[in-house]
């Protein structure tokens, strides 16, 4: 799949921009603060309906304007269709094929995007939240119904935390309602965790050999799911539910005392090991980078195998962060198959035939001058 063209209106520092892209490599070149990341972000937002940089949609709207619009034409499965995201003070509107989609799970997944930005190098070292977001976004774009379950789940957690706080402060002592919310929570938690297990199996299938390749056969990557409850990764939904039931049953008083939900996928994490050593704690910076790169490359292949086509790859400022060896590994993987957007302040950072054959866009202060 690829994006044929993009039309931005009042999006960040772009007032009105229309571009047509090459179906292979597109290089966005420009000095700092000219709009390279904004352009990449717009493609990401078109795919996921929200930014990875901010949770406040308002920031996407150009200062002094009251709405922002991203329109793109996507080519996928031999079909061309428009996608559109609009943000205003009234909220956001997602349109697929000219039709407004009321549920985001009906929108996300139409355009598949893998983003690799300097922040992603923290995937291994950073907080669990970053890894949870990684796994959630990736499952979501392959299986949009996951986003629906996740949304429901988050709402239940919020309700349940409020109730636990009320119980903690003795504003109520209605444990029946707590039982109800616990049952609701377990129902969705089990679906989410089961889907994460299935996804991790796929991820391993691709990431382990890729990591082995990049490390020249010297490193063996292991990925494990760290759960807040005692449950095996091979467990099926009913088994997962039973584990949650006993965790909640045995810890009800503790949860009330803390006023917060202590178990569930919102507390889980991913652990990475290289040659059986925890990369987060013991990995060198190089090993952490290799791991992050392996995961991203695995995502590309995983989407290809699940969706049937390669996703669009966004490489924002990241090539210069990778050494020559890792860089060529990355470029070799995508060559000729994946529509890729690369941003850089200078092409001399990147020495590879892929880049030489690329379409060049030079951005200056919110306009494309070349």
């Amino acid at each position: 799949m690829y994006i044929k063209d993009l039309h931005l209106t009042n999006y960040r520092n772009y007032q009105d921009l229309q571009l047509s892209f090459a179906d292979k490599v597109n290089v966005i070149i420009g000095e700092n603060a000219q709009g390279k990341t904004n352009l990449m972000e717009a493609i990401y937002v078109l795919a996921f309906s929200k930014s990875y940089r901010t949770s406040r949609d308002k920031e996407l709207v150009q200062w002094e304007q009251n709405y922002a619009k991203i329109k793109g034409t996507v080519f996928k499965r031999n079909q061309t269709f428009p996608m559109e995201m609009q943000f205003s003070t009234k909220g956001k509107i997602a349109k697929l094929n000219h039709m407004e989609q009321r549920r985001l799970s009906d929108y996300i997944g139409a355009l598949n995007v893998v983003m690799f930005a300097p922040e992603d190098l923290h995937l291994v070292k950073g907080s669990p939240q970053i890894r949870r977001r990684f796994i959630d976004m990736e499952i979501g774009q392959i299986q949009p119904v996951y986003i629906y379950h996740l949304g429901q789940y988050q709402k239940i957690v919020k309700q349940r935390n409020h109730l636990l706080k009320n119980l903690q402060r003795r504003q109520t002592n209605d444990r029946t309602m707590l039982e109800v919310l616990t049952e609701q929570l377990i129902e969705h938690a089990a679906i989410i965790v089961e889907k994460r297990f299935v996804f991790l199996d796929l991820l391993r299938k691709w990431a382990i050999p890729i990591h082995q390749g990049i490390s020249d056969d010297k490193e063996r990557l292991t990925i494990t799911y760290f759960s807040s409850i005692d449950v095996s990764e091979t467990a099926e939904r009913e088994k997962i539910k039973t584990s949650y039931q006993s965790a909640f049953m045995n810890n009800m008083d503790k949860e009330i005392e803390r006023g917060s939900t202590l178990f569930g996928p919102h507390r889980d994490d991913l652990l990475f090991f290289v040659n059986d050593k925890d990369v987060q704690t013991y990995g060198s910076q190089g090993q952490q980078r290799t791991t992050a790169l392996s995961l991203k490359l695995a995502e590309i292949e995983l989407i290809k195998s699940e969706v049937g086509e390669y996703p669009i790859l966004l490489l924002d400022d990241v090539l210069s962060e990778l050494d020559h060896y890792r860089q060529s590994h990355l470029l070799h993987t995508i060559q000729g198959k994946v529509q890729t957007f690369v941003s850089t302040t200078s092409v001399s950072d990147i020495q590879h035939e892929t880049i030489q054959q690329a379409e060049l866009f030079e951005v200056k202060n919110g306009t494309i001058i070349r």
Partner: protein
Amino acid sequence: MYYPEPISKLIDSFTKLPGIGPKTAVRLAFFVLNMKEDDVLDFAKALVNAKRELSHCTTCGHITDQDPCAICQDESRNNTVICVVQDPKDVIAMEKMKEFNGRYHVLHGAISPMDGIGPEDINVPSLLTRLKDEEIEELILATNPNIEGEATAMYISRLVKPSGIRITRIAHGLPMGGDLEYADEVTLSKALEGRREL
């Protein structure tokens, strides 16, 4: 821009209505100024009367101009089934369907701890009293198919279950996360057929 006080008060009143922003409020206010005086008087009376003459039925909680309401007074209806809904609008939607002949109980909301709404803040206690006093055999829980509506149904079900009353929940054909009042009559009638035991 400064409006004379009567207009700004009118604009302010319009903004209190749902879905009306400041711009629309101004448009409506100026429209009223150009209406015939009789029409404006009728309009104002209709507003006041709707509020004054309508109250909630002390039995079922539905909006009514007499107490008990027409549905509660109708002796041809089945006394053994109660359909529990969140909103008076849901009763009207069900009645349009003309397939349900039992009684109703309107909760006026759903349990939602994050909004500070507990079971006693909606018509759950009056439902429990009704179940004790009347001869009810079946309770149909037709709360909205979203998180709060589901939780409310589960909650009521847990409280009522020990009494042996049959409890069903309408399920099929309703969009999850949607509000019942948006469901068209066909899906609603399907939903009623496909109710499941809780």
